[in-house]
Symmetry: C2
Subunit: 193 residues, 2 copies
DNA sequence: CTAAAAACTGACCCATGGGTCAACAATTGA
DNA sequence: TCAATTGTTGACCCATGGGTCAGTTTTTAG
């Protein structure tokens, strides 16, 4: 049990290092060497804990996803009304620690690999499914059944679009503007009372 | 002048080949060799017409962008009312030849490089600026001045988000659904009359 | 205390791929 | 017709980086 602990610590360090290198270097530039150095280890150790580069970045993506998921769950637990649940989901996606150009760059790099890496595609699918499910559960209490799907797609697309924009043209797009945009959508598409 | 013609033809062939290889292989997998083979030429010729890999893909992105721009201009010319101009811009972005998973994959790969390639960033900036300008010119006639910027951002973000989703999870997202989503947004945010 | 298991390292292998170059083919213009 | 320009090729160079491995250190468990 001590054993597993060291290996778990190391694996987490390497996952994190991988994600951080990804932020600056992109997928092609994120070499095992750089990840190892960034984690303060040798290249050999990376391949000791992860079978290959793909697996490493697969786990990096998974961990980043878990962090987002926990942020959402955390806020959902505090929410009382359906409206609050809706806002909780949205606000979690724009928390400062997530909504940053560098984080977005890393995501973009991972997303660009999705079409060629089934494992990444699977993770992406899970993310979408959870998002949809969370949104629908809040929306069913706020809108006629026939509109829920469309609005859920609208919200996720808006979020993704704002994220993408942050990654491509960070100047001029702040967290506040992004959140204002989401509220603008809700105000018109899911009007209160 | 005959000379320039051959070189222009060759350059275009190579740009196109580059974009097409990008669709299937991603940036890392899109080697000069593959691009050359796909264009029916040798690797040497690619570097005869383009200084290096970056320049090749920069031109590939530029050409793809021009195609989209022309589609927009084409539809804008046919549009009579501000409302039609708005719809023209949106519909151009969802034309079948553009709104395809493989095309989206290529775009994603290019976008992922934007943070590390100033030339790509410049192109991206131009694209955004043109989009914004087009939208604002239509929106000023339809909305109070204070709302135009926000709605323009909303529309572009929605478009980008739907594109991203098409690239990540092509199953289940059709052109019709995407267009319906855009119309849903307009119906609620830019109501007619 | 000690042997086995796990953690870790650095040297090495090798395929890949970007980029160079010398030479050859074709086209062109006078 | 014939130089000069342009187009084109394939061989070559070389840095990079993923992955392997033999061997060393550290940890753990009995």
């Amino acid at each position: 049990m001590r054993l597993t602990r060291i290996s778990e610590i190391r694996r987490r360090e390497l996952r994190r290092a991988a994600f951080e290198v990804l932020q600056k270097e992109g997928m092609a530039g994120a070499t095992l060497e750089k990840v190892a150095t960034h984690a303060g280890a040798s290249k050999g150790i990376v391949l000791h804990y992860f079978a290959n580069k793909q697996e490493l970045f697969e786990h990096a993506m998974r961990e980043a996803n878990v962090a987002l998921k926990e942020a959402v769950v955390d806020r959902l637990n505090r929410a009382r009304t359906p409206r609050e649940r809706l806002e909780a989901i949205i606000e979690a996606n724009f928390e400062e620690r997530f909504f940053q150009p560098s984080v977005c760059h890393a995501w973009l790099s991972l997303c660009a690999e999705v079409p060629r890496e089934p494992q990444l595609a699977r993770i992406q699918k899970v993310i979408h499914a959870r998002m949809r499910s969370n949104l629908l559960s809040a929306l069913t209490d706020l809108l006629p059944a026939g509109e829920c799907e469309a609005v859920a797609l609208g919200i996720t697309s808006l979020i993704d679009g704002l994220w993408l924009r942050l990654g491509l043209q960070s100047e001029g797009l702040t967290r506040d503007i992004a959140l204002a945009q989401m509220r603008d959508y809700l105000a018109h598409r899911v009007p209160e009372a």
